[in-house]
């Protein structure tokens, strides 16, 4: 087992014999580190954190630390990380809270770039990219193959759909639909992520159907339910279109454009009444 003598592996920790741990790392007593995973140096793995195979953690990453959340009561929550992920310098991943099912989870083959933050109770599926300093708030869900550009900030309980592309420095307060490009201070849908879809091998007819759906839903001026019904009638046979429609309906059922808001079981602060503002 390649563990540098200056690193601290606390008793109780499980480290696979093929894992490689560089200088000045700290691995807490409840951590499990899988085969061929590499901690370059100065990496901290805290809490009840399970890390799979072939992940790389670059210097100054801190994984499984306490949530940045006032509702956290010290619960024994977990962080689960799959296989083949890359965490660049200074990435922070926080463990879960009781409200989010006590779990933060990251799937397989994700690339999380320098200074990015993955908050408590967040789920990242597979093959996602988070560029530098991209920030997820708590309870966010990022579906497979989504790309978040640099400095993107994502609000609590937001869902980022699969194959979505979020432009740089965007402020994301609402769900970002799958297959689309969302960008800007108001987080607006700009068009179909056709470059990303082509690179991932989507067929031209699927991309064209998504373009048609984008025109109807965001450019035609039709009320959303009518536009969705129309798109469904035209191209409902295409799986990606059904995914898009189901996603948008779920977002509309949630509050404030966020399907996962329904998971917020604590009462929200009441909105100030109009009279009070006057």
């Amino acid at each position: 087992m390649a563990i540098h003598p200056s690193s601290v592996i606390e008793s109780g920790a499980t480290v696979d014999p093929t894992a490689e741990i560089g200088p000045w790392c700290v691995v807490g007593p409840q951590a499990r580190i899988g085969p061929n995973t590499r901690l370059v140096h100065s990496v901290t793995v805290a809490g009840r954190t399970t890390i799979g195979a072939r992940n790389v953690f670059h210097p100054y990453c801190a994984v499984g630390g306490d949530p940045q959340d006032l509702k956290f009561r010290g619960e024994d929550s977990v962080t689960i990380i799959g296989d083949d992920n890359i965490f660049r310098e200074g990435v922070t991943v926080n463990k879960g809270t009781w409200l989010g099912g006590n779990k933060t989870s990251i799937g397989n083959r994700n690339y999380i770039m320098a200074g990015a933050h993955v908050a408590h109770d967040t789920t990242i599926e597979d093959q996602c990219i988070m560029a530098n300093a991209a920030m997820l708030a708590g309870h966010v869900r990022v579906e497979s193959c989504a790309i978040l550009s640099g400095m993107v900030a994502v609000h609590h309980f937001v869902t980022i759909g699969r194959y979505a592309f979020i432009g740089g420095v965007s402020r994301i307060n609402q769900d970002c639909p799958p297959y689309m490009i969302t960008q800007g201070f108001a987080g607006e849908v700009r068009g179909v992520n056709s470059v990303g879809l082509r690179r991932r091998g989507f067929k031209p007819e699927v991309i064209n159907a998504l373009r048609d759906a984008h025109r109807s839903i965001w450019r035609s001026g039709l009320p959303k339910p009518e536009a969705l019904a129309e798109v469904e009638k035209r191209n409902g046979g295409i799986e990606e279109i059904r995914t898009l429609i189901a996603f948008l309906r779920a977002s509309d059922h949630g509050r404030m454009g966020r399907a996962r808001e329904s998971l917020r079981t604590t009462p929200l602060a009441p909105e100030p009444e109009a009279e009070m503002l006057e």
Binding site: P59, A131, M151, V169
Partner: protein, 256 residues
């Protein structure tokens, strides 16, 4: 040489006599550090890196990591750093991915907390990258440009000399020299107040205030005798020749 006993300095690293290396630093075999360089604590400098004199590296700075790219790094890439640069906490500078490439940083630059110089980027002299300012791969930042916090350049962007980019701007196009950029989306707002001249004010009015078609406005600029205006005109021509308003896009073909 003043190396803390907990630091890990490879024997093959070339450090000037008065270099200071604080606790828990890593200095790799391919690293050359000039006189007066100071590594405060937990600094990581690995890979082929050559730094001149009087550079200061604050805690958690990581220089020489592989490029943040899905393609493998170039085997012969390196990082060149000039003199008198300040690297504040958690700054990252990455190796190039282009064969024989260089990620280059000039002199007297200030890199604030968590700012980032991406693979194959070039930073001139006297540049400021404020907190969270991030340069995407293949970016060029010319001398004395100032990029405020949470600003990020797209890959292949050129940020012009003595320009000023306000905070929270996605820098998706080249920033013209001597101008300032702000807005919800990328907008050239005027002449950088620190370098205002009458000729530049006139030039700004011609290009962004007159409604003239761009080629006509540039032709007018080229009649101006001021060297700054000539520099601006040449810069704008190069940007217009690239794709998406980015002169550097022309070199993209080589990377694919």
């Amino acid at each position: 040489m003043n190396i803390h006993p907990t630091a890990n300095v490879e024997a093959a690293a070339a450090l000037a006599d008065d270099v200071q290396v604080g606790p828990f630093c890593i200095v790799g075999a391919g690293v050359t550090l000039g006189p007066g360089c100071r590594l405060l604590a937990r600094v990581s400098i690995t890979g082929p890196v050559r730094a001149g004199r009087d550079n200061v590296f604050h805690p958690n700075v990581a220089i020489g990591g592989p490029p943040q790219d899905l393609q493998p790094p170039a085997p012969d890439g390196r990082i060149e750093i000039g003199d008198g640069n300040l690297f504040r906490e958690a700054v990252t500078v990455h190796l190039p991915k282009m064969p024989g490439g260089v990620t280059r940083i000039g002199s007297r630059n200030r890199f604030h907390f968590l700012s980032h110089v991406g693979h194959d980027s070039t930073v001139g002299n006297g540049v400021v990258l404020a907190t969270y300012a991030v340069l995407g791969g293949h970016s060029v930042v010319q001398d004395e440009a100032w990029i405020e916090g949470l600003g990020g350049t797209h890959q292949f962007v050129t940020v012009g000399r003595r320009s000023w980019t306000r905070s929270h701007i996605p820098i998706t196009e080249d920033v013209p020299p001597f101008m300032w950029v702000d807005g919800n989306h990328f907008e050239v707002k005027g002449v950088n107040p620190r370098y205002q001249t009458e000729a530049l004010e006139r030039a700004y009015g011609t290009v962004w205030g007159s409604g003239l078609p761009r080629p006509e406005a540039l032709a007018r600029l080229e009649k101006d005798a001021s060297p700054e205006v000539a520099e601006l005109a040449a810069f704008l021509r190069r940007s217009a020749a690239g794709r998406f308003g980015r002169a550097g896009e022309a070199s993209r073909g080589a990377s694919r």
